[in-house]
């Protein structure tokens, strides 16, 4: 007798998670990516305890000094220790995107699955609206809100969570379409299950892989957006250390003090590359094709 696949319980879910994790770790991109991401997360947690200087302590006697024994990455234009600020510079970004990404994927995923299941006219209209939203550049949408309501995290988190959830609708809807026509969904309908039950028990488990990969990609794009906003002066406000802002500040003195740029550049790039490598490995491990992704 053939075995009937049982409803996934806590144990098999954990087992599957470990299997996927092992697959991700087995790929060079996954191993490097995860290592980078974890290093950054740990650093973000412990950096306030290990930094050698106060990040906002200015020193007019040593402005833009080069790397030396006491200041490993030199000092910036206000005499603040660059190494300290690089160590601390990712905390705000990780906090904001770390909260906004799950929210974005959850609401976008839910709406996408819902309209994928319902279909028909409403779905058609909804997709036009999503298309219309996507045709506007992200920076325009975000800046209009930020300029009006301010640049604090209480504005940035909901703004990022909202706008980065819109494209997820499309992805989740497309993934749902692949599932909705299958027999087990018709069977669930025939059994008389309601929409929410079908979404929770039949659709979500099948769409979850896609959403996980999407979430990882969204996270890196959100970080990109966040640091671009800081760079343009619309993100975190000084003196809070942030890589985007530090690069913007140090750019002016680049010709004679390039170390001020290189520190935050390496820190920011390594985090974003780490996330991307992890997302790539995750997509391969879960068997989802992400190569056909165009710039958004």
């Amino acid at each position: 007798m053939t075995s009937i696949p049982s409803v996934p319980n806590q144990n098999t879910r954990l087992a599957r998670f470990l299997l996927v994790l092992r697959d991700v770790m087995a790929r060079p991109s996954g191993a490097i990516g995860l290592a980078l991401v974890f290093a950054h997360l740990i650093l973000a947690l412990i950096s306030p305890m290990i930094v050698p200087y106060d990040y906002k302590a200015m020193n007019s006697a040593m402005m833009l000094t080069g790397p030396e024994a006491t200041h490993w990455l030199g000092t910036d234009h206000l005499g603040r220790d660059v190494f300290t600020r690089v160590l601390l510079g990712g905390r705000e970004a990780l906090l904001v995107t770390g909260i906004a990404t799950p929210i974005a994927v959850t609401w976008g995923g839910f709406v996408g699955i819902f309209f994928g299941l319902v279909g028909g006219r409403i779905d058609e209209v909804m997709m036009r609206v999503v298309d219309a939203f996507l045709s506007l550049p992200w920076i325009l949408k975000m800046l209009v809100l930020i300029v009006t309501f301010g640049t604090g995290i209480e504005v940035l988190i909901p703004t990022l969570a909202f706008f980065y959830g819109v494209p997820v609708i499309r992805i989740a809807r497309a993934a749902t379409h692949d599932v909705v026509a299958r027999d087990f969904v018709s069977a669930a309908r025939a059994r008389g299950h309601g929409r929410m039950t079908i979404i929770r028990r039949e659709l979500l488990p099948n769409v979850l892989d896609t959403l996980m990969v999407e979430g990882a990609m969204r996270w890196s794009w959100m970080l990109l957006a966040f640091s671009s906003l800081s760079f343009l002066g619309f993100g975190v406000s000084p003196p809070t250390p942030d890589w985007g802002l530090m690069i913007a500040d140090a750019r002016g003195f680049m010709s004679f003090a390039p170390w001020g740029v290189l520190g935050p550049v390496i820190a920011l790039s390594s985090l974003i590359i780490g996330i991307n490598l992890t997302a790539d490995a995750l997509a391969k491990a879960l068997g989802i094709d992400r190569a056909q992704k165009a710039p958004v």
């Binding site: 036009r128 219309a132 939203f133 045709s135 506007l136 671009s228 760079f231 920011l268 991307n276 710039p295």
Partner: protein
């Protein structure tokens, strides 16, 4: 085919119409209007009323939307909040500059990306593929302002080969933007090449694994003939859509690059007008960029359909 075409055009127009409603109501929902922004927040009483009267802001939102949309269709985008200048004129120069930047990057990036994409696809997992694919990941994941900063550091500060900032005014003819435009073009080319390369690579790999390529190999068709006659025409079709998205991105999304290099394009105008809360200009730019996005994607879909006989007949049969 004609019905298909009309249907797509209609859907595109619907999307643009929805965008215009979103833009208008978005700006409408924000606290304040272009008069309070222009006259500062404290403005009250007679002055504010006069300004609103002059700009027609005292009418109902629906009436103003219809008015705005109707004149936008006729190519009149209204007047800016501060200078009382025609927006069509203001935006015209910037759009021209953005087009110049986009055209240069496309001319450089698209052939390069397709060539490298085919090379990496055909020599999959060989050293050349691994090198280029890794470089591509770097080029597309590193934030644009970071790669721009690094290139300025390298090419204009350390090597001194290219100017790191654009000083040419917005209304100057295209020829005067050289050589200042080269560094921004280089950054944009890097990013777009990476995206298109990855797309072409995966498409080439997929096609080369197809049944008809195997059949041709078994028949004894020479390898390069298979590549050029059988595989590439199919493999390059999806590239049309990516190039379309890239064009839309080049015309609307390169704000950061334009700010970094001080390039007087549409993107920088967008930032400036948002900072100044010049809402009529923001609306106009948003509408232009969205229309370009929809138009370019629509053309790409139609082009793909024309170039791909299978898709064509499929749609004809269905309609």
């Amino acid at each position: 085919m004609l019905r298909m075409l009309l249907r797509r055009l209609f859907l595109g127009a619907v999307t643009v119409a929805i965008v215009s409603v979103i833009i208008f109501s978005g700006v409408e929902l924000l606290p304040g209007d272009s008069c309070t922004a222009f006259l500062e927040r404290e403005a009250k009483g007679k002055l504010l009323e006069n300004c609103r009267e002059a700009q027609g802001l005292n009418r109902g939102p629906v009436e103003r939307y219809v008015d705005w949309a109707a004149s936008a269709v006729q190519g009149d985008l209204g007047v800016s909040a501060n200078g009382q200048k025609s927006i069509t004129e203001l935006v015209g120069n910037r759009l021209k500059n953005s087009l110049l930047l986009a055209a240069c990057s496309l001319a450089l990036g698209v052939p390069l990306a397709i060539f490298l994409g085919v090379v990496t696809g055909l020599w999959r997992d060989r050293p050349i593929d691994l090198t280029l694919s890794t470089l591509a990941i770097f080029a597309m994941t590193i934030p644009e302002f970071v790669s721009a900063t690094l290139l300025i550091l390298l090419f204009s500060i350390w090597l001194g080969w290219l100017p790191g900032i654009v000083l040419t005014p917005a209304h100057a003819p295209a020829s005067e933007f050289f050589p200042e435009i080269l560094l921004p073009v280089l950054v944009l080319t890097m990013v777009m090449t990476a995206h298109i390369l990855r797309m072409v690579r995966s498409s080439v790999i997929e096609v080369m694994a197809g049944d008809y390529v195997q059949m041709a190999t078994l028949k004894g068709v020479p390898y390069w003939r298979i590549v050029f006659r059988h595989a590439l025409p199919n493999a390059l079709l999806p590239a049309i859509n990516v190039v379309a998205l890239t064009i839309a991105w080049l015309l609307g999304g390169v704000v950061v690059i334009e700010v970094v290099f001080n390039y007087p394009g549409l993107g920088r105008m967008m930032i400036d007008s948002i900072s100044d809360r010049d809402l009529p200009v923001v609306q106009a730019i948003a509408l232009i960029v969205a229309t370009v996005y929809v138009g370019v994607n629509l053309s790409a879909d139609l082009l793909t359909m024309i170039a791909n006989p299978r898709l064509r007949t499929l749609h004809m049969r269905r309609q």
